[in-house]
Every structure is written in structure tokens, then in C-alpha cells.
């Protein structure tokens, strides 16, 4: 079993198709929606994490492409210069994925890269500018 993050982009016509449930049913992959941006009459965007066997993931991607969904690996990643963090907490005000949280005992900042959906809100929220988003790193 493996996990991979993908960005799915699709045209308005596809929005009504049961894409997600199809993947679950056909290939036994579990789909975790990390971020969604679907506005009516416009193209939609979904960031998903697929979990399944390597083969199942490959077949899922093929299937999505056949359905007219543009499917690209989500290679954006958040880079955090944690050693410089002063634990002010400003970034936790905008992080709703649970990736950035204050430890309620030590009040140090805890960063959980796996929960990060790379929404980018913390980049501007950190007064020390410790976050950057990169495309080079495979997430």
C-alpha cells in the first residue's frame, strides 16, 4: 500500500460525474480530499491523496485521464525553517489542516508535514517568514 497526492483539474461538465466513488469501487483505493476549489460554471480543482497498491494508483490515474480529468502529481511541498521558530503561534491562526499546532503543555510549535495540504496560508502569516513553498521537492 502507498499514498500519493495528486492535483485533479476538470471542466464544468465533469463536475457531476461520480469520480471519487468510481475510484473507490473500481480499484479499491481510498480517497482523501485535501483541498477543493469548485466554482459553478468554471473549471474545478481537487487536491486528493490516494491510498492503495501501486498498481491501483496507476490504474486510477489512467482512469481519471480517460474521463478527461487532468491529473498531475502534487509535488508542491512546504519547507519550514523550524530551527528559527520563536513559537509565537501566528501561523496556527490560519492552519486548519492540523499541520501546525501549539503543544498545549510546552507551547512549542508542532509541525506535522503529513497533514499539510500546502494551502500556503502560513507563508504570509509567519512574521519571521519561515515557510516557503517549493516545487522541487517530491511530497
Amino acid at each position: 500500500m502507498m499514498k500519493k497526492k495528486y492535483i485533479l483539474r476538470f471542466s464544468p461538465e465533469i463536475v457531476k460525474k461520480p469520480l471519487v466513488s468510481d475510484l473507490v469501487r473500481k480499484f479499491d483505493v481510498s480517497v482523501n480530499i485535501l483541498n477543493a476549489d469548485i466554482s459553478s460554471g468554471r473549471a474545478g480543482m481537487l487536491v486528493v491523496e490516494l491510498e492503495g497498491t501501486e498498481e491501483a494508483l496507476e490504474r486510477s490515474v489512467e482512469d481519471l485521464l480517460n474521463d478527461g480529468v487532468k491529473c498531475s502529481p502534487h509535488v508542491k511541498a512546504l519547507v519550514f525553517r523550524q530551527e528559527e521558530c520563536v513559537a509565537c503561534g501566528s501561523c496556527t491562526a490560519v492552519c486548519f489542516s492540523g499541520a501546525l499546532q501549539m503543544n498545549p503543555e510546552s507551547w512549542e510549535l508542532e509541525f506535522d508535514q503529513d497533514s499539510c495540504i500546502v494551502c500556503g496560508l502560513c507563508v504570509e502569516a509567519c512574521p519571521l517568514r519561515l515557510f516557503t513553498i517549493t516545487r522541487e521537492m517530491e511530497s
Partner: protein, 382 residues
């Protein structure tokens, strides 16, 4: 009646290594099982601390004279404009002054870089006079090349501060951080029961001349801070429920550490600076003890709508609620986040305690107490 102690007696104990020092968080815990009188009997000093962004900060520098001499009128340090109207080679670096070329770099960064020992580019211009003929200087300075370099912050360590929220439909960017639309989050500052001026709400022991921890070294309270306000409503525990008292502080920046002085940039707001301050409170009598025994749930503060120009209050929250991760506003659960570092504040309170324990830091009696009554005026169009 419990014993009254004097500052001299406590200093005598510090000298002998016998003074009992606890942090303001520790005393708040002790308060659950001890009376004020018992606290006076057991504890000599309570250390309080805060580490948060404090915009009204800056530093004086004397560069030394140049040959041929110049009476500097326009000065930049790393392209950040600094005060030019201060004799020939003195300046004041305002923390929030921004570079001509990079709005995310400002006076705060110059101060931090100087403390870190880095070289800074100075450019100065003047009209030229008979005794100061030079019209232009461009050279490099650092903290070892200049004569004096001391922090002088006109308004620090606010006694309480409102919680910030945004009721409008668009995100706003403030010095209280990124405030998400429709009360999407709530941010708060101050270190609660550890915060200096919340432990001495009526300024019985903190006054002009009080020796403090400032930026990693010994500093002093030099005056009451600007916008000093004694008229804010207080709750049942004597705590003003919004921003009230402030202090002006001074200290030798050459001795400070970038661990406790950190430049900051708030998105779409500008440059600010994190300042670490620790203040010892001598437990001289029961009233002072009682004030230090204050607990987070007793410290209330207003919830302020930052999206309205006159910043109306939407209610109150206490620090226990704020620290729990969410508060309720208009029946809705709202995520809370701090803006000042409790982790650093704790470090400062512990560090100050260890200085006193080692006999390196003696407490002071204020030379003068702060005004008993003071209000804040606004700037009016005339």
C-alpha cells in the same frame, strides 16, 4: 498579620543565596492551596515575562565622528531611514521604519543584525557647515565600531490586550496577524498569568528605575510607557480588561541576544520587533502577593472587531478559554491562536530566576512611581 518585607531585606537574602524565587505561573498554581499571607511568608520574588511583537521600540546609536566631520541630516542604515535630527552622529533607529527597497526589511532588522554582530551599511548626507564641512559619508558600521548602542522602547509590555477578530467577508492583515473572514479565527497577545504588568496591576513595585530583564541582559524601566492609561475598566480581580498600562524600557543592546530580540514582518502591515522582557516582583506584602496569584481564568480581555474602524467589542474571553484552542463568539466556536510566545516568556522567567538565584541580579525599589491617573487623548483635526 503577615510579615512585611523590604527590598533591602530581599536583596540581603539574594546575596546570601537564600531568596526564594518562583515564576508567576508557579505562584498561580500555589495560589490554589495557599493564602496570600502564606505566600508572603514563603516567597520573596516572583518572576514575570513576555515575548511579543512590540512596535513602539527602537535604539539609539552614536556612530563616532568621521574625518572630515559631518553633521548628519539624512541617514540610512542598510537603506532603512533613521532619525537625522539628533546632533551630528547620533541617531534613533525606529523599529518600524522600512527600507527604501525592501518593505520586509526595516529598523527592527537593523537592530537585530547589529545585535548579531553583522556589518551594516551607513549612508549619510548633510548640507556642510564651517565646523562640519563634510556633505556625504558612506561606510560600514557594526556594534563594535559604534560608541553607544542601546535600546530605548517608548511603549512595551502592554498590560492586557484585546483579542482580534474580523467580522467582514474578506481576510484582513493586521499586527494581530491574519484575521480570517466571518470570525474565522481569533488571535490574542500577552502571556496571561505570566505577563509582567498583569501581576502588578496597580504598579506598586514596577516604576521608574525598576531593574528588569531586557533582550537577554539587564535593563531598566525608564519611564511609564506612552499611551499609559489607568482609567480602563477593571474586573473583580483588579485586572483592566483591555490595553491599559505600558512601560518605557532601556538597556544596552550590545549585551543583548537575538534569542530575545527578533525582527518581524507582518503581512500587508509592516515591520515590527519581538522583544523579550522579564520583570521581578518582590513579594513585600499580602496585596502584592494577591496580585501575583492571579490565574488565567481570572484575566479577562475584550474581543475586538478589527474590521471596523472604531474597533467595537464583541464580548469578553479569559486566558484559560483563549489557551484552550477555541472560544465561543456569537454562539460560534472560533479557533484561537497566540501572537506572543509563551514558550519564550517561560524561558525568560526561568532565566531571570536563575540570575537572582546565582546572585547576579538584585531587585530595586522604584525611584519614582507611575502616575496614579492618566488617560489617553486622540489626535484631532483642528
Amino acid at each position: 498579620m503577615s510579615t512585611r518585607k523590604t527590598v533591602e531585606q530581599i536583596n540581603e537574602k539574594i546575596k546570601k543565596g537564600e531568596a526564594v524565587v518562583v515564576t508567576a505561573e508557579e505562584i498561580s498554581k500555589m495560589a490554589m492551596s495557599m493564602s496570600p499571607s502564606e505566600i508572603v511568608d514563603t516567597v520573596d520574588i516572583v518572576t514575570t515575562a513576555t515575548f511579543g511583537p512590540m512596535c513602539s521600540s527602537g535604539a539609539f546609536v552614536n556612530f563616532g565622528h568621521y574625518s572630515p566631520p559631518i553633521r548628519m541630516e539624512e541617514i540610512t542604515l542598510n537603506d532603512v531611514p533613521v532619525s537625522g535630527g539628533l546632533a551630528a552622529v547620533d541617531t534613533y533607529i525606529g523599529a518600524t521604519s522600512e527600507s527604501h527597497f525592501d518593505h520586509q526589511y526595516g529598523g527592527a532588522h537593523v537592530i537585530e543584525d547589529l545585535i548579531a554582530g553583522k556589518d551594516i551599511k551607513i549612508k549619510a548626507r548633510a548640507k556642510g557647515t564651517d565646523c562640519y564641512p563634510n556633505k556625504e559619508v558612506e561606510t560600514i558600521i557594526n556594534k563594535d565600531s559604534v560608541n553607544e548602542f542601546y535600546l530605548y522602547n517608548p511603549r512595551n509590555a502592554y498590560q492586557n490586550y484585546g483579542v482580534a477578530v474580523n467580522t467582514k467577508h474578506k481576510t484582513i492583515y493586521t499586527y494581530m496577524g491574519t484575521l480570517l473572514p466571518n470570525i474565522g479565527n481569533a488571535t490574542y497577545s500577552t502571556s496571561g498569568e505570566l505577563s509582567p504588568l498583569l501581576n502588578d496591576p496597580s504598579f506598586r513595585t514596577i516604576g521608574i528605575g525598576t531593574r528588569i530583564f531586557l533582550g537577554g541582559t539587564q535593563g531598566y524601566v525608564s519611564w511609564y510607557g506612552t499611551q499609559f492609561n489607568t482609567m480602563k475598566p477593571k474586573n473583580d480581580f483588579g485586572i483592566p480588561t483591555s490595553n491599559a498600562g505600558t512601560i518605557a524600557v532601556i538597556g544596552d543592546a550590545k549585551e543583548m541576544s537575538t534569542e530575545y530580540i527578533k525582527a518581524a514582518y507582518f503581512e500587508k502591515y509592516g515591520v515590527s520587533i519581538f522583544i523579550g522582557i522579564g520583570i521581578p516582583i518582590p513579594i513585600l506584602d499580602e496585596d502584592i502577593a494577591k496580585a501575583c496569584m492571579i490565574r488565567n481564568e481570572q484575566i479577562e480581555t475584550q474581543i475586538i472587531d478589527y474590521s471596523e474602524p472604531d474597533k467595537p467589542s464583541l464580548g469578553v474571553a479569559n486566558y484559560e478559554q483563549l489557551r484552550s484552542g477555541s472560544i465561543e463568539i456569537n454562539g460560534k466556536k472560533v479557533k484561537t491562536a497566540p501572537m506572543s510566545s509563551l514558550m519564550k516568556a517561560r524561558k525568560i522567567a526561568a532565566e531571570l530566576k536563575s540570575w537572582i538565584d546565582r546572585g547576579e541580579f538584585y531587585i530595586t525599589q522604584p525611584v519614582e512611581l507611575f502616575p496614579k491617573e492618566s488617560t489617553v487623548k486622540n489626535l484631532k483635526q483642528r
